[in-house]
């Protein structure tokens, strides 16, 4: 793969650092008047999500990472692998439970997601901002019951549970923020 030198570094560039694919977040050129130049670089590890900071000699380079985002359709899961399909090529990739993480809770068949691929393998999945899911189970809310702060738990069709307002009933369609797992509003049919 290609190499990028520090003077080509910019936010968003995908490079390999300690065998992890990372994204450059910040790049600061540091040079005292009479000494050698350095770059203080902040990286976001695309697998762990953590931030790494490194000081490099200016002019040195890092290997580019074969990482890019693809819009893919969620098809199904078997509890161990989550299958996503490229809507144009019909190519399928399988993401582990660890990679799908929390967003597995909100994924409905044929939902469109952004899958980050490294060397063709999924390393993270970004669900759509909003999903619409049907409430499969919830207790009828008693009017005037504000003891719980006006919310109650509800189970949706994917099996996930979230807090909803008391007026929500079984069978209602909910608009949910799939990235935070929060109730947004009721959805029209």
């Amino acid at each position: 793969m290609a190499f990028y030198s520090t003077n080509e570094f910019r936010s968003g560039l995908k490079i390999m650092l300690e065998n992890h694919p990372c994204e450059i977040v910040e790049n600061e050129f540091v040079k005292p008047g009479k000494g050698q130049a350095f770059n203080r670089v902040k990286f976001r590890n695309l697998i762990t999500g953590r931030t790494w900071e490194r000081t490099m000699k200016s002019g040195e380079s890092l290997e580019a990472a074969d990482v890019f985002d693809k819009k893919m359709q969620y098809l199904y899961n078997d509890g161990e692998s989550w299958c996503f399909m490229d809507e144009e090529s019909f190519e399928q990739v399988f993401a582990s439970a660890a990679v799908v993480a929390d967003c597995a809770k909100w994924l409905k068949e044929e939902e469109s997601c952004v899958v980050t691929l490294w060397n063709g393998e999924p390393i993270s999945v970004l669900p759509p901002q909003q999903v619409i899911l049907k409430v499969t189970e919830t207790d009828p809310g008693l009017r005037g019951d504000t003891a719980t702060g006006g919310t109650k738990p509800a189970t949706v069709e994917t099996g996930a549970v979230l807090k909803v307002p008391l007026f929500i009933e079984q069978g209602d369609l909910l608009k949910i923020n799939a990235r935070t797992g929060e109730y947004i509003s009721r959805a029209k049919e």
């Binding site: 600061e28 050129f29 540091v30 000494g35 050698q36 790494w52 490194r54 000081t55």
Partner: protein, 286 residues
């Protein structure tokens, strides 16, 4: 007296960490002409010719230096005072900077050694290379360098710029003086038990603003330093640079005992204007 010296100079800098732009003709002919990285050599030649105290405001060019506080083409204010000690020149720099800046600065003066002792509890002149490496790690400066080879001066530079200076509050003017002899550049080295370079830097709010010397006047020593520079350039795969024989000739004729200082005008303006990036004070940044 205000003077003007050529922007296109026949020799480039030999400094192992500087790269000069070289001029080329219309058919890519390489000219023996370089955009100056500093007016120092030309101004010293004027001093040797009897100019007396001189100053210049001019552009300087350093290839590849770009960032929040760096621009390849930048503005320098440089002046020389025959008969001044570098401490007396620091007084003058402080007065000028305070005159220009709207905020009242809290100035203080400290030696390189004392600053490191105070902040990091190590003596930069005697601490072992391993001790320096350990402190770099301790201070969270993680290095990503091929062969993990970091020379001593670079380690000190990183500690100074990344660990010590960021602690400086905004309206402060810190004069750091008596640098390690290995970082003398063109300053006179005071010999003794522990040789120090009679060099100073001014940092305002932690930002490097000016660099000054009690100037080296010995032609032989200057020539040795140029040659040492070229050896370092060789060692790091950079091209050796032609030596400025005119400067050496001027030093042989006699450069009066003097102190000089170079101040970054764009950075001074950044401080005055509260700018966060040098491009904010340039009309047409790169």
């Amino acid at each position: 007296m205000e003077v003007e010296t050529p922007l296109a100079y026949p020799t480039p800098a030999t400094d192992p960490h500087l790269d000069c732009f070289q001029l080329v003709g219309p058919a890519d002919e390489r000219c023996f002409s370089y955009l100056q990285s500093s007016p120092e050599f030309a101004m010293k030649r004027l001093l040797a010719a009897g100019s007396g105290p001189i100053y210049q405001i001019c552009k300087a060019f350093r290839y590849g230096e770009a960032g929040r506080f760096h621009h390849q083409e930048f503005s320098m204010l440089e002046w020389y005072r025959p008969g001044f000690s570098y401490h007396r020149l620091m007084d003058e720099v402080a007065a000028l900077v305070q005159l220009v800046l709207p905020m009242r600065l809290d100035f203080r003066r400290i030696s390189y050694r004392e600053l490191f002792l105070q902040h990091l509890a190590i003596d930069p002149f005697t601490a072992s290379d391993q001790a320096l490496d350990a402190i770099l790690q301790e201070r969270g400066i993680e290095l990503q360098i091929k062969n993990r080879a970091l020379d001593r001066d670079s380690a000190l530079d990183l500690l100074l710029s990344q660990s010590i200076l960021p602690m400086e509050a905004e309206a402060t003017g810190l004069f750091l003086f008596d640098f390690p002899a290995s970082q003398a550049s063109l300053a006179h080295i005071r010999v003794g038990e522990c040789p120090v370079a009679e060099r100073f830097e001014l940092y305002v709010g932690g930002l490097e603003l000016a660099n000054g010397f009690h100037e080296l006047v010995d032609a032989q020593e200057q020539r040795r330093r140029f040659e040492a520079d070229n050896l370092k350039r060789d060692a790091t795969g950079k091209q050796r640079q032609p030596i400025d024989w005119n400067l050496l000739a001027a030093l042989s004729q006699g450069l009066p005992d003097c102190s000089g200082v170079a101040l970054g005008l764009d950075r001074l303006l950044m401080i005055a204007a509260g700018a966060k990036h040098i491009s904010e004070v340039l009309n047409f940044p790169d």
